[in-house]
Amino acid sequence: MKNATPVIEACNLVKRFGDITAVDSVTFNVLEGELFGFLGPNGAGKTTTINMLTGLARPDAGTIRIAGIDCSKAPKAAQHLLGVVPDESNLYPELSGFDNLCFCGALYGLRKQERQARALELLEQFGLADAADRKFAGYSRGMKRKLTIAAGIIHSPRILFLDEPTTGIDVVSARQIRQLIADLNAGGTTVFLTTHYIEEAERLCRRIAFIVRGRLVRIDTVDSLMRQTDGRHVVRFAMADGAGGLCEAISGAFPHLQCQTVSKESILVESREPVRIGPLVRFIEERGAEVSEARKLRPSLEDVFVSITGIAAAAMKQEQEKRKAGGGV
């Protein structure tokens, strides 16, 4: 990070829609050059917060300062500093990739030569040079996502808002996008990232805020959050012929272990002390189940998320994917 000055300052932000308080007294700062994660389940208030920060929505209470500019009453005052990549690829279907980028550059005042050169550079960087003249409507989902990100950075913004950048795209494209985000941040761009892929946030972000039902429940560095998992030992057992009823038996026989069924074929065993795998394998096999795999797991940010929010991360992810597949917003 260049220095430690806050470039986004949100103070006691409140947003109501009728009787529903979508964002409730949210306060946080994002430092210049930081890659900041904003995590929460659907309807937690992530997009509403981004909308307020970028000028697409007005807060009912609270203040917003972007790079020192008070945007609470004048939402457009700092828009020249911002790049926004929404959760849906919303470029113009009838324009080509190149024309879309040039148009987005023009919206930020880039002159013709400048925006054309930058568009070509970005198409090359994002691996879309061959599709530059194709209409956006004909792009694959991954290509659309990449072009939407390129459109968000064509004017080299100081602060980039990324709303679910890798949702619904293939693994290769997602990996490329994560690398691009890391590169942008390494180049000095402040990144505000919302995602439901907790491992993505863990890998990319320095600090993370968890928002649930409109309220910030925790904001901390990834290192501090991960320290919360220190001293926890987790082992995953996979059984070829099913794990039915095993958890109850293990909890009864080993009271110091916590056991949960994670799927039809696997269970997780957790303890504050090191878990001895041998006795557990024997115990399981004595009950007629064959252990196909026993693996020690490193506790992850997902565990922290679950313990802080009480929401299963997998359920959050599934819900999000379902929503995207259904074309919802």
Binding site: L56, Q79, H80, E88, N90, Y92, L107
Partner: protein, 245 residues
Amino acid sequence: MSRWVAFWSILVKDMRAYYLKPPNISWGLIFPLAWTGMFFIKSGGGIEDLLALLPGVVAISILFGTTSMLAVTVTFEKKNRSFERLLLAPISLELLMLAKTAGAILFGVANAFVPVAMAVFFTDLSRVAWGAVVPAVVLIAVSSAFLGLFIAVSVSEVFEAQTFSNFFRFPMIFLCGLFFPIEQLPALLRPLSYALPLTYGADILHRGFGGVSLMPVAMDFGMLLFFCATLFLISLRNIKRRWIV
């Protein structure tokens, strides 16, 4: 300067993406042709009646071309969220909406001159007061575009934009003195005529093409300007209230 780069780009993008598409060009040609033909046949008169029909046909061509195109394109962009891109651009809302309406205004003006271009071949237009007709055409296009903007801000679906446009447009054909003189309308309906911008635009066109108008031309221009400003300001207020919530 950078604001005008954005303004120009929005205008050019809209022209390329919507207004200069073959279906819209053919709409711009066929619609005025059909209206001229229909009223020409209905009037039962000769070629000399063509000049009397022009004010109505010109006005209606602008009204239908402009309102529907703008209402539909803005609603379409709002629906697929590409309009958010424009709202995020560092230009004022006023300039943004002027850029969005500029394409529709140009489209409306172009539509207006289709029947005029046809009339050149059939009638003598040497006595037409172009000094009144041209600004009237522009102002009718502006007020119709702002009416389209008002409609776009009031609806959320593309089909609603079409039906809501018709709610205004079809009564205007009969109430604004395009083909039927306002004085011949039932007394109860006449106040409604004076509450519609097209009445004043059509009145200038009648003066420009035929030398006769109901109201003083200065008053017509004043009222048209008043409607343009009012519709634009109401639309801006509604955008701020409904789209930047």
